[in-house]
Amino acid sequence: MIPVCRLDDLPAGESVRTDTVPPIAVFNADGELYAVDDTCTHQDASLSEGWLEGCLVECPLHAASFDLRTGQPTCLPARRAVRTHRVTVEDGVVHVHVAAEEGTAA
């Protein structure tokens, strides 16, 4: 479990990237928190710098789009999913529970 930031510092529409290896992007999508691996599965670009619309994030480099709920790509050029990670808020602090294995976590 990794503390990320205070919830107050992650308002709706914003995102933050952890310094972990690999880095993880945490999004506040209209009040719902999601965490996925930060690096686009197509090429080296940071999804935390992407365009957030609903629970989709669009990669800033080639406009691959991922569903934050499942990690699945919704269009080309990405073909592989990003891992998703569980997010909790404890005492006003956002935490990420890093998925142990490849694939998606609840």
Partner: protein, 420 residues
């Protein structure tokens, strides 16, 4: 519209060019329900791969060939295409119904997608020049260059300061080589970025410890068996063990000479990627669509949707005018540009700052403007702000095209609302 075209009469479609654009066209054909014979001809022995990493992570060894593949076995099976690889197309018959191959074979077809791309331009002179002289366009080019760059420190001269030249120089510097870039113009990238922004981007070479010599061309290469130096038109001689020529690309249209297609620095197409023959469309670097030929990754991925739609419809039912977009990774900086700028547009830094004529650590966002309207955007390491402006520009362009288009509206991008 979908069932009104001659799709039923299309039994065989040949895609010439196992490229990014060729693969996207093949995917689009299947996605639109084309269930006939699909033949893909490629002059390289490889399945389609992504070229942008060749000058970057592939060259530095940060990523390998498996990361370049554009499809996977599952998709390849689903496409159900016949891949004729390592064979060059050498002609298209007058009616556009037969693609002639170098090995003597011919593919009879009802539709053709021309996606042969472009080839790296070489310095004038016989053959490929002495050993140690490279271009960087194909996987085989990149393999050869990478092998040479991992054999110990080299003196590298890069001819041409455009994106390929700059990215390659940056990768060579990362690998510890002594690198000099030679650019014939006053500055690299002036046609793309305008002089002010070109100057800022040129300063990145300095950041990477790479020498930049501008305003002088190459007079000759020195060396007989292997290259030993580059002689400049101003008389200077740069010693070199490796010379990389990045002076642009020419569209691969030679095989179409004598066909019914109109050729002029590319295959001439209307706004819907349709050539002089309605059952032949062209996409990607080889296509001059509505007067413009763009060697952009995004053009190669966006044109096939419209091209294939029109091919199956049998006429130009849709048009495409994607907002030009390109990016470049060099010296640890990410440059992104989108829009259509004119030399008369003004440009201003809207976010971030510059210091000493170079981008600041935090990067910057620059807006090109005409009569109070934003026409294009450039950013260095500001991907989020860049995306916001790029989307605004794309939306404005879609609205414009939609009203100007008397046929069906321009295709919206995925996830964007269609224009009513």
């Amino acid at each position: 519209m979908r069932n009104m075209g001659p799709m039923g009469s299309m039994r065989t479609v040949t895609v010439v060019g196992a490229s990014l654009a060729g693969l996207y066209a093949a995917r689009e054909l299947r996605a639109r329900g084309f269930d006939g014979r699909l033949v893909v001809v490629g002059d390289e022995p490889h399945r389609p791969y992504d070229r942008p990493p060749l000058s970057k992570d592939f060259l530095t060894g940060r990523s390998d060939e498996d990361r370049l593949a554009l499809g996977d076995p599952e998709e390849n099976a689903g496409l159900d295409a016949e891949w004729l690889l390592g064979v060059r197309a050498r002609g298209l018959d007058a009616r556009g119904r037969r693609v002639l191959l170098d090995d003597g074979r011919a593919v009879s077809c009802d539709g053709v997608v021309v996606a042969t791309g472009a080839s790296a331009r070489r310095l004038p002179g016989p053959g490929r020049g002495p050993a140690g002289v490279h271009t960087l366009r194909t996987l085989d080019d990149a393999r050869a260059l990478r092998a040479e760059l991992t054999a110990g420190p080299r003196r590298v001269v890069v001819v041409g300061g455009g994106f390929i030249g700059a990215e390659t120089a940056s990768s060579c510097a990362v690998l510890g080589h002594d690198v000099t870039v030679v650019e014939a113009a006053r500055l690299p990238l002036i046609p793309q970025l305008g002089p002010e922004m070109a100057a800022l981007c040129a300063a990145l070479h300095r950041r990477g410890g790479v020498g930049l010599i501008t305003g002088t061309g190459v007079a000759a290469l020195r060396g007989t068996a292997a290259v030993t130096g580059v002689e400049l038109t101003d008389g200077r001689l740069l010693p070199a063990d490796v010379v990389i020529v990045g002076i642009g690309a020419t569209p691969d249209t030679g095989w179409l000479t004598g066909s019914a297609l109109a050729l002029a620095d590319g295959v001439l197409c209307d706004d819907g990627c349709v050539t002089a023959l309605p059952q032949v469309v062209a996409v990607g670097d080889v296509a001059r669509v509505g007067g413009t030929r763009a060697e952009h990754w995004t053009s190669a991925t966006e044109q096939p949707r419209v091209a294939v739609h029109n091919l199956l419809a049998g006429h130009t039912a849709r048009t495409v005018r994607p907002l030009p977009y390109f990016w470049s990774d060099q010296y640890g900086a990410r440059i992104q540009f989108a829009g259509r700028r004119l030399d008369t547009d003004t440009v201003r830094i809207a976010e971030g700052a510059t210091a000493g004529g170079a981008p600041d650590e935090g990067g910057f966002l620059a807006l090109y403007e005409r009569e109070g309207r934003t026409t294009a955007v450039l950013s260095v390491d500001r991907p989020r702000s860049f995306t916001r402006v790029r989307r605004e520009l794309a939306r404005a362009a879609t609205v414009q095209d939609g009203t100007a288009n008397a046929k069906e509206p321009a295709l919206p991008r995925e996830g964007e609302p269609a224009v009513p």
